[in-house]
C-alpha cells in the first residue's frame, strides 16, 4: 500500500501526459462531413464506389462496403451498429425511426403506401402472419418490439 502511495503521483503524472499527448493528436484526426456534399437521388440504390473508389483513408472503412446493394439493405443493422456517424451524413434519424422507434403510430408500409419500392416490413396482413413468424424466429420480433414499440403486442399478449 505504501509503495502504491509512493508511485501514485508518478503514475498520475504519466497518465496526465498520455492524455495531453492524445488530446494534442486529436486535431490531426479527420472528421466526416456533417452532411453529404452532393444531393443523392431519391429511390436510387446508392453506389458509394461510383465516386469514392479506392478512397480509403486512415482508419476509415472502404466506401464500397457501404454501397446500398440489396445485401446491404437487408443486413444494414450490422453497419448501423458501428458506423452511425457515416449513415447520418445522408440519413436523418427519422429515416431509421420510421421503423425502429419507441412508439410507432402506423405500419411503415401504410405511412409510405406511395413508396412500395422501399422495403418496409409487415406488408399486407401481417396480423395473421405473425402467428407463424413469431414462433419461427422470435428474435426478429424482439429487435424492434422487445424493449420498445409494444402497444400492439400487449393488446393480446398478457
Amino acid at each position: 500500500m505504501r509503495l502504491f502511495q509512493r508511485i501514485f503521483p508518478a503514475l498520475a503524472l504519466a497518465g496526465l501526459i498520455t492524455i495531453l499527448a492524445a488530446c494534442a493528436q486529436m486535431k490531426a484526426l479527420p472528421n466526416l462531413p456533417a452532411s453529404h456534399p452532393e444531393t443523392l437521388t431519391i429511390g436510387q440504390q446508392v453506389s458509394c464506389a461510383e465516386c469514392h473508389e479506392d478512397q480509403q483513408k486512415g482508419t476509415l472503412k472502404t466506401f464500397d462496403a457501404f454501397s446500398h446493394s440489396p445485401a446491404f439493405v437487408k443486413n444494414h443493422r450490422f453497419y448501423a451498429s458501428s458506423d452511425e456517424r457515416l449513415c447520418s451524413t445522408c440519413h436523418k434519424s427519422s429515416f431509421c425511426n420510421d421503423c425502429h422507434t419507441n412508439q410507432v403510430e402506423m405500419k411503415p408500409s401504410i405511412k409510405y403506401g406511395n413508396r412500395p419500392d422501399r422495403d418496409m416490413p409487415h406488408r399486407g396482413n401481417f396480423m395473421t402472419l405473425h402467428k407463424i413468424e413469431g414462433k419461427l424466429d422470435p428474435a426478429s420480433c424482439y429487435r424492434c418490439h422487445g424493449r420498445a414499440n409494444n402497444e400492439r403486442c400487449i393488446t393480446c399478449h398478457r
Partner: protein, 438 residues
Amino acid sequence: MKSPCVRLIPVCLLLAFPGAALSAEISVDATSIVRFEQRADQGAPKIDIVPATQFLGLDASKLGDGNLSLHVSGWGRADIGDKSYNNDQFAGSLTYGYLQYRFKEANADVRAGRFFVHEGIVNEQIDGASIRTDLPLGFGFSAFGGANVHTKKLFNENSDGKGEGNFGGRVNYRYRGILEIGASGQYETNAPTLINYPTVNHRLVGGDIWFSPHKSVELMGHTSYNTVTKGVAEHSYLMNVKPLQHLVLTGEYNENRERNYYYSWVNFSQLALNPSERSRSLGAGASYELGETVELAVDYKHYTREVGNADRYGANVKFSLLGNSVRSGLGYHYLRAGKEFAIGSNPSASYHELHAYALHDTRTYFAAVDVIDYLFKEKVYNEKSAWEATLSLGYHITPDLAASGDFSYGRNPQFTEEIKGLVRLNYNMAFDSKGGMK
C-alpha cells in the same frame, strides 16, 4: 437518477433554441395523414376508424458557433371515428429531441436530450447525454447515460417493465481500413417491481467485429453476454464476398440462447424460458446488379428451434427505368414449416408469398400500385390466402409540397375483409445550402 429531472432536459433544450436559430439552416418534414378504415374482425361487428395523424420533424444546423444542431421528431393522433387501437382518443410521442455539438475533429460529438443509441450490441432510447470520439492510434470511445424512455404499460401493471436508468458505451479499435473490433455494454438500473412478472434489469456486454482483409471480402457480427443470467445471449455474424463488382454472395449465422436473450422481454415470461433452449438460423444469398436498371436477389434460410425446423427460400427482382422515374419489383418466397409453427391446430405453417409493385414518379403526378398475397398450404380460419392490393395517386403541388391518396382492399383470415383509404399531405422544406434531403 430522478427521471423527472432528466426528462426536463429535452424541454429546456427546446426553450434555448430560438435565440440560437438566427443563422441556422433549417429543414422541416411534415406529413399529415387521415386514414379511413373499415374492419370486420372475425365474429365482431364492423367498425369505422378515422384517425388523423400529424408527423413533424425539425432539423436546425449551424446554430451557435456553427457546430451546434437541434433535431426533433414526433407525432400526434386524434381518433375522429371509432377508437383505432385502445381507449385513448388522442395519442402522441416525442420520438427524439436533442441538441448535438459536433467538434471539428476526430468525429467527436456530444448529444443531450432524447435520442437513440446504436453502439455495438446496444440499441436503446434514452433521455440523457452521450459523448463519442475517435482517439489516436485507431481507437474510439463512446458513452451514454440517462433515463430510459418508457413505452406502453404492461397489462394490469403500472410500468412497461423497463428500469429507470441506463448507462453504457463502446470502445473500439480500427486498423487501417481492414479491421474494427469493439467492446460494448449497457447497465440498466432500478427495474420496477411488477405484480405479474419478475423484476429484471437489462444488462449486457458484448463484442463486435468487422474484418475485410480484401475489398471483396467482409466478415462482421457480434456476440452478447447477459451479465444477469450469466450466459451468452446472441451470436450474429454475416459474411459478404464480392467475386465480381456487382455480385454479392452472403452467408449468415444467428444464434439466440433464449433465456439470456429474451430475459428482459417481460411480457413473454422470460424466466419461464428453458435456459438450454436456443434458436438458430443459417442463411445464404446472392444479389446482382445489372447496371442501374435491374437488381436480382436470391436467398435461402434454415431455421432451427427446439420444436422443429423450417426453410425459407425465394427471389426478388427490381427494375429502375426512365431515369429512375419508373420503379417496379417482383418477389416470390416459400416458407416450408411444419405444424409446430402453425396457427392453431393446422397441420402445416407453410405458405407462398407473392409480391409485385410498380410506381411512376414525375415532376407533377406520382402513382403506385402494390399487391401482396400469402397463399397458405392449409387454410387458416377457413381462408386459403391473405391478400391486399393498394393503389396510390398523388400530385406534387410544389417541389416541397405533395398531396396523395391511397386505397387498399384485402381479404384475410384475421379480418375477413379490410377496406382502407387515406389522404396524405407531405411538406418537406429545407433552408440549407448543400447536401441531400436525408
